[in-house]
Symmetry: C2
Subunit: 164 residues, 2 copies
């Protein structure tokens, strides 16, 4: 019995460590540090894609939001980070002609720094995949190839949504 009590004590003592250890900051993607707290950034826009059946929120850090609200987005200012949060597009049970976020796919980010990222069109490109936020490491060219149609828009697809 004494032994059991001791084991229980050890388990309780370890719990705080276990909780912390199960939720570490994800590693870098393309050498870029994880932008902690992006889940609570403000909204720049939303989007919907029928080609890969996804629905997205486009968020920004404070610098990006300030630029979006003032229309200073071509170019976006250094320090801006734009985040695109992607979910599988899923039918809403209670409103059949609506869709909403299903499975979380990934969160991907563009980090504007015209000195640091001058080799990749003044943006750092990063992505963290799945709920475990596994760093994407397949190379920035995967991102820039897709973004080439908007190279004259500072490489950004998103127009900040009209807001009152």
């Amino acid at each position: 019995m004494k032994c059991l009590v001791k084991l229980a004590s050890v388990a309780i003592a370890l719990t705080p460590f276990a909780v912390v250890a199960s939720d570490p900051t994800p590693g870098t993607s393309h050498g870029i540090a994880y932008p902690i707290g992006w889940q609570n950034w403000s909204t720049i826009a939303v989007s919907h894609r029928t080609d890969n059946k996804t629905i997205r929120a486009v968020l920004g850090n404070d610098t990006a939001i300030k630029a979006a609200r003032s229309g200073e987005t071509n170019p976006w200012p250094d320090g801006a980070i734009i985040g695109k949060v992607v979910w599988k597009d899923t039918e809403l049970k209670d409103w059949k002609t609506a869709t909403a976020p299903g499975k979380f796919v990934h969160a991907e980010f563009m980090f504007k720094d015209s000195n640091k990222y001058s080799d990749t069109y003044n943006w750092g490109w990063a992505r963290w995949v799945g709920l475990d936020q596994k760093p994407f490491q397949k190379g920035s060219q995967v991102c820039t190839t897709c973004h080439t149609p908007v190279k004259n828009r500072d490489w950004v697809f998103t127009d900040p949504a009209s807001l009152p």
Copy 2:
């Protein structure tokens, strides 16, 4: 000339007032005060409707975000405000199978207060229409009628989107 100078002075003196007067806080909707600053609230979810061709961001005040993140949403806590920002769904010029926000339609809100709004299912229902944020005054029943299919989900269609 003296008269012209005087008129110019009056115009300059009036400018600050004119700027303020052109952007006042919108009036109440169904007696509910405008939730200043909602444009920078964090995201709960997004949605897309084919019936009325709109795309939406679902935002929350701090109380709503805390509830959404912790899964305490049936019922939502008193003090929670959920905002739905609605735009016309518009084809993205540079990615033909994507849509994004076009014309801003309205922003509508549910204010949870089980004492104040006990007559309308514990929520206050309000909407401000267009970029000039004209208060909607057609009655809460317009909102609650539409939300009846989710009366067992505390009258809320939205499931907080899955986030890492």
